[in-house]
Subunit: 443 residues, 2 copies
């Protein structure tokens, strides 16, 4: 079975690289047992058997620096999370139709990180389910159905959410009630990004209304991950949020990727922009790997939905997942994880930026905390697209034991997103390998 | 905050019963922190701190016989599952974009329980996500959007799946592309249930087409759980499955509730009916509490979807959830769990049926394996609805330390669904308490 799926960034494409017998055998089993929908990363897919901190280990004991993981944000197999899961799973695993302290402790901890208006937490199993639930609530709250997103957004894979996740590719159609706006990229289109973004959102609202569609929500990943990681300038979301509210819709901050301290200065990406979302959706790092996600919202936003529709999700809010998430929150506070994201993130940004003087293909470098992006631009003489050059860099780094990936419309943006326990030594190692990969790929 | 939600069976309704200070305090915290969408079970909600086998323990050490749990089918805190999770969570928790043996072992094990045509396994985090993914695949496969369900069906809570889950109540509208048919209940409407069900499905197909909607799928819970548990007569699904296929749609067997051996004679409920589904969806007991769900399907059904749309779900198929599910499959086989479900289930059915001679309100009793239902019918002289009488029985049993719930359009069907390790002694205890509750509620 040969799958060539150019819409999937950094996916394994059969026949492009020599595989070991072991890799080939496992890939054959996957194709046979999991079918044609699954993708592997890298030209030579990786098989891991153990993880510890920022390191992943293959069956031969070779270690890889994991610089592409916002699920195990506290590092692989963090002892506090492992202990919390181990203890709870041997004691009780049950659902939210019974009383249990842990879910209340989790809600209390999460809600203490946001303004008092956001007073309720609801739990799901995945970030997709969280954005799906946010939309269900938005429809009941606003009476509308229209959705505004950025043009390279990713919000998840349920049937409904896939209709507002353009990065899934052209085979997954956007909904007739969905409008896309340009992502607010100051470095590409100049300053006054706030004004332009507000105007674009206003135009999308007008277009929805012209088609008889009442707006329900503007939803953005507050660091614009799949649009290429766009942190600048802080505050640029304000005007667009006002616009959607003026039109009767709500603003949903998708914190599945930027949340839980990744951006360094704040627990949540939207806080960099000084806005108060109506709903904040949470996911990936919430249980450091244990499946748990959810949302925070105001009472008035969820009141009608809660009263009339109720909500139960068998696994969501189970005692084990809640115990993992409580441990994650405790470690973030106790070990000052956010300070580390800010300080080591600044060092990472400085060191990656410095490579620009040595490599002409390195374009704009930007970031917030431990979320850094670098554009790769191929020169005409190289006879290779920028996306292909980026893939070459990513795969050269993989061969040298460092894991990152790419993003952006042209697949030419390096996406650097290590666990939040990354150290300055890890940065030095990372930058050394990136430097070599850039050298080798442009030689 | 007072929520009266009569559409939710056996939900706690504030003000109906005296609560302890501890219960009242935890409920106040839930209302404040989790908001208005969450429901508790029973008139006096329960707080559990520990589970073991078929028992749940409250903070005072009082134990409750859990006869309403199809998640921890192997019993609370099953040692093999606890060990599998404990070991894997300390070793590696990562996703399906890397190679890993455990997901292949799980696929191999699950696919060995079905006919060879069903050759692929795909994983999700919840049963809702599984049915949601089944619909996405059905749309791509058939080019249609129409869905046929039974009139009291429940398939999940994503935005799309809630539109074909009528038990969520009238506040959650069915989709314009959804048609409902009467559940095939031989005991209510006489024999020839297969013919009638086929004719009803054919009429629904004709109505979809008359509205310009191409059928995509017929989806049924193969034991019709929320329609009141309808096992008879085996084989009645065949005609309806032929009808949906003749119309270009596919047949999806929702095994989230009946699956994993519950019905005693077969691993999956659809196997009682001698049909081959195009997609089988799995959930609840799959990881004995760990969030994992998914589907099995044929290559030709998923081929186009897989090639064009691909599929990645961050938490789904993570190594820890897969390890839990592999352990569940091993225990089901090693400990002959299905034999126990069949034998103890037959004993349970016999003992519950025998209560009919002592209690006039006990109507039709039926079941398959450890899934038993009993209709409760109030007499006119009692001046209480059948649903209210059923609630009274359920809450009296809860007060006496035995947990069950109710289902059905009129909420008057006792839903008896213990873990599959239930023993004959457990049955005796259960029936004794049910007998007393029936006596007390009709006195």
């Amino acid at each position: 079975m040969t799958i060539v799926d150019m819409s999937s960034v950094n996916a394994f494409i059969p026949g492009r690289a020599e595989l070991t017998a072991h890799q080939a055998s496992m890939i054959e089993q996957r194709d046979r047992l999991l079918g044609p929908a699954y993708r592997l990363m890298y030209q030579k897919p990786l098989h891991f058997v153990r993880g510890e901190g920022v390191w992943l280990y293959d069956p031969d004991g070779r270690r890889y620096l994991d610089t592409y993981n916002n699920v195990v944000s506290l590092g692989h197999c963090h002892p506090d999370v492992v202990e919390a899961i181990t203890k709870q799973v041997a004691t009780l695993c049950t659902n939210t139709r019974y009383l249990h302290e842990t879910i209340l402790e989790l809600a209390d901890g999460l809600l203490s990180t946001v303004s008092g208006d956001l007073s309720h937490m609801m739990l799901t199993c995945s970030g997709s389910e969280a954005n799906d639930l946010a939309y269900r609530i938005a429809k009941v709250r606003t009476g509308g159905t229209g959705i505004i997103i950025t043009e390279t957004a990713y919000h998840g894979i349920t049937d409904t959410v896939s209709q507002f996740s353009p990065t899934l590719g052209e085979a997954v159609p956007l909904g007739a009630h969905v409008r896309t706006v340009k992502a607010p990229a100051a470095y590409r289109s100049g300053p006054n990004v706030a004004d332009r973004f507000r105007r674009d959102v206003e135009a999308a609202i007008a277009d929805l209304k012209r088609h008889g569609i009442k707006p329900a929500m503007l939803i953005v990943d507050s660091i614009f991950t799949s649009d290429g990681i766009l942190p600048e300038e802080p505050g640029f979301l304000k005007g667009a949020v006002e616009a959607i509210r003026d039109a009767g819709g709500i603003f949903v901050a998708d914190e599945v990727q930027p949340g839980f301290g990744r951006t360094g200065n704040h627990m949540w990406g939207f806080q960099r922009h000084g806005v108060d979302p109506d709903i904040v959706t949470l996911g990936k790092p919430m249980g450091n790997g244990q499946p748990i996600a959810g949302l925070l919202t105001r009472h008035d936003v969820v009141e009608k939905f809660g009263r009339s529709s109720r909500y139960f999700n068998t696994f969501a809010g189970n005692t084990v997942s809640c115990a993992a998430a409580v441990a994650v929150l405790q470690v973030i506070r106790r070990d000052k994880i956010m300070d580390n994201a800010r300080e080591v993130g600044a060092y990472l940004l400085e060191k990656v930026s410095a490579l620009r003087s040595r490599h002409e293909c390195m374009g704009h470098v930007r970031g917030a905390g431990l979320f850094v992006a670098a554009d790769i631009n191929a020169e005409k003489a190289m006879q290779i697209s920028s996306g292909a050059l980026t893939a070459s860099v990513v795969n050269a780094m993989r061969d040298d034991g460092v894991l990152i990936s790419a993003c952006g419309e042209d697949h030419n943006i390096l996406k650097i997103r290590p666990p939040l326990i990354f150290t300055r030594d890890n940065v030095d190692h990372f930058v050394e390998v990136l430097d070599k990969a850039l050298e080798a790929s442009t030689r």
